[in-house]
């Protein structure tokens, strides 16, 4: 694992990608820093971070696109998978290497609150807490990008799909605002979700009976709940999907100055989930 971590980390800096990633991140946040804090004089660096976090949408795919895809294309995965290292170790090593690259601009950005402090007031504690939250969110995005990269051999496809997914995650709250809140609409939404889950079950297990049973149980449950207490469906979907909002946690850090522990746990557990899924994808391909 440590061998893979070191090799990957180094490879980001033997090529251009590592430097480009750091430069673009710093430039992007730097512009916001200049405008928000230095010109307009807001004393909170956390505002800058929260607003400029969208640099992830462009930069993270740059970092993750080749992680798994390139290994498969050049067949170097054969070296990794035939060496005495577990698949989990390989994937974790790669993830940590990317997390380490992401840490570099974050460490440099640590200078910003101090800079502001030297010129006047700065919410040092909330600024650093927000930096931590941004970093954890970045790690989550990296895990998602790595997972997408493990699905393809093509870096470009990997980058484009990751970009799209991250954009969707970033705009999640805005999209949810368009969802209807009425009871009937939400009930129909639930039924659609059940059908989707049943289809996924069928695709994963290959058993139509299991999928049918799951769909019927789900549908019956929804209808029973509808007749017992229909008001439960009010705004159900927007609320349920809202839990998955990636930026909500960051905003509590940046604007409410709350150290949102559960939020950080959410980021890191989603990251862990996608690292796990990446390992599973690699395993599944081995056994096909």
């Amino acid at each position: 694992m440590s061998a893979i971590f070191k090799r990957d980390l180094r490879s980001y800096f033997t090529g251009m990608i590592g430097y480009i990633f750091i430069a673009v991140s710093l430039a992007f946040v730097g512009i916001y820093f200049l405008v928000v804090n230095l010109i307009n004089g807001y004393p909170y660096f956390s505002y800058t971070l929260s607003n400029s976090a969208m640099f992830f949408i462009v930069c993270i795919p740059l970092l993750t696109m080749r992680s798994m895809a390139e290994e498969r294309r050049t067949k170097t995965d054969q070296l990794l998978l035939t060496s005495p290292v577990s698949v989990g170790g390989i994937v974790t090593g790669k993830f940590l290497a990317m997390a380490a690259v992401l840490a570099i601009p974050m460490v440099i950005l640590c200078a910003c609150p101090l800079l502001m402090r030297s010129a006047g007031a700065a919410g040092i504690a909330s600024d650093y807490a927000t930096l931590l939250a941004v970093y954890c969110m970045g790690c989550m995005f990296i895990a998602i990008g790595m997972f997408i990269s493990s699905l393809t051999e093509n870096q470009v496809i990997s980058a484009v799909v990751t970009l799209f997914v991250l954009l969707l995650l970033y705009m999640w709250d805005d999209i949810l605002d368009f969802l209807p809140t009425t009871v009937t609409a939400n009930m129909i939404g639930c039924l659609v979700a059940i059908v989707v889950v049943a289809l996924l079950l069928y695709l994963m297990s290959g058993s139509p009976n299991l999928a049918m049973v799951a769909a019927i149980i789900g549908a019956v449950a929804v209808i029973v709940v509808y007749f017992v207490d229909a008001t439960l469906f009010e705004s159900l979907l927007p609320n349920a999907l809202g839990i998955l909002s990636a930026t909500a946690v960051l905003e509590t850090f940046a604007f409410d100055f709350v150290f949102n522990w559960p939020g950080l746990v959410f980021y890191l557990s989603v990251a862990a989930l996608f690292v796990f899924l990446t390992a599973q994808t690699v395993q599944k391909r081995r056994w096909n």
């Binding site: 061998a3 067949k75 054969q78 070296l79 035939t82 005495p84 577990s86 096909n288």
Partner: protein
Amino acid sequence: MIEVRDLVKRYGDHVAVDHLSFTVEKGQIYGFLGPNGAGKSTTMNIMTGYIGLTEGDVIVNGHNIVEEPEAAKRCIGYLPEIPPLYTDMTVTEYLRFAAQLKKVPKGERAEQLRRVVELTHIEDVQHRLIKNLSKGYRQRVGLAQALLGFPEVIILDEPTVGLDPKQIIEIRDLIRSLSGDHTVILSSHILSEVQEVCDQVLIINHGKLIASGSPAELEEKLAGTTLSLTVKGDDPRAVEALLSPLDGVTAVTVAPGADPGELDVRLSCARGRDVREAVSSACISAGVPILMMKNGDVSLEQIFLEVTSDETGESPEQPAGADETPDADRADGGEEGQQ
């Protein structure tokens, strides 16, 4: 050393490896021989743990590749068909990475690195980026990687592909020098290579083991069963009628020879029967002068071609059943060779 039992690999409906069983003994060089798509690479990929298996067991040095993958992989060095090289690294960087990956103890890394570089003759390119190396050098860097850690089993998938003749000889010498301490398994479709280098040959086709044994054994098996003659005469039928009743002769084919008045005769005999004496006395008493007689000179190449084409083009109404008996023998011999 390595035991493969009833190995099956299916891709959907396609069976890539079909109930393959063999045992590999320590310190010998094994050659996997087979046409393209025979399942050589798939078998190697399964043995090294790169891909999973559908059924069966692969035991490396007492470790099951599925149950104890890390312990089993530690005993194996593998050079796949396409060397798994990171082209943005220099040779030394790459080998250092491979040594770490294979968990070579820190103190031994520098020494081992020096040794594999020396063995594969890549001293001159050590500090160059792999992407700037020629195919032959890349192949050798891949081989150096497989040797790192000096594992007990070294598996090489077509190790001499892309090398020039001088390099091929060097690599063969290297492989030969590795036997004894290491078990080497290599695959190839170059028969002369297998014949020259390997102690044992496993011929695979359609994912099945169809023959095995040392090159000499395989040759002997087939060589003992055919006899070539050139006789003086014009009437092929007479010669055929003369020779086919002989005890031990299973089939006779007669064709006009190179010069007029000569006939080329090919006899198939029951295994282990020497019919030369009977043939010559029969010819003499019938007044047919023998111009030339020799035991069938078969190379591994012929065995390979016959054995593999039997598998694909099996037709029940083969004329005269000429090849049936030797085939059955060879299949038996294959089984014996395994044990």
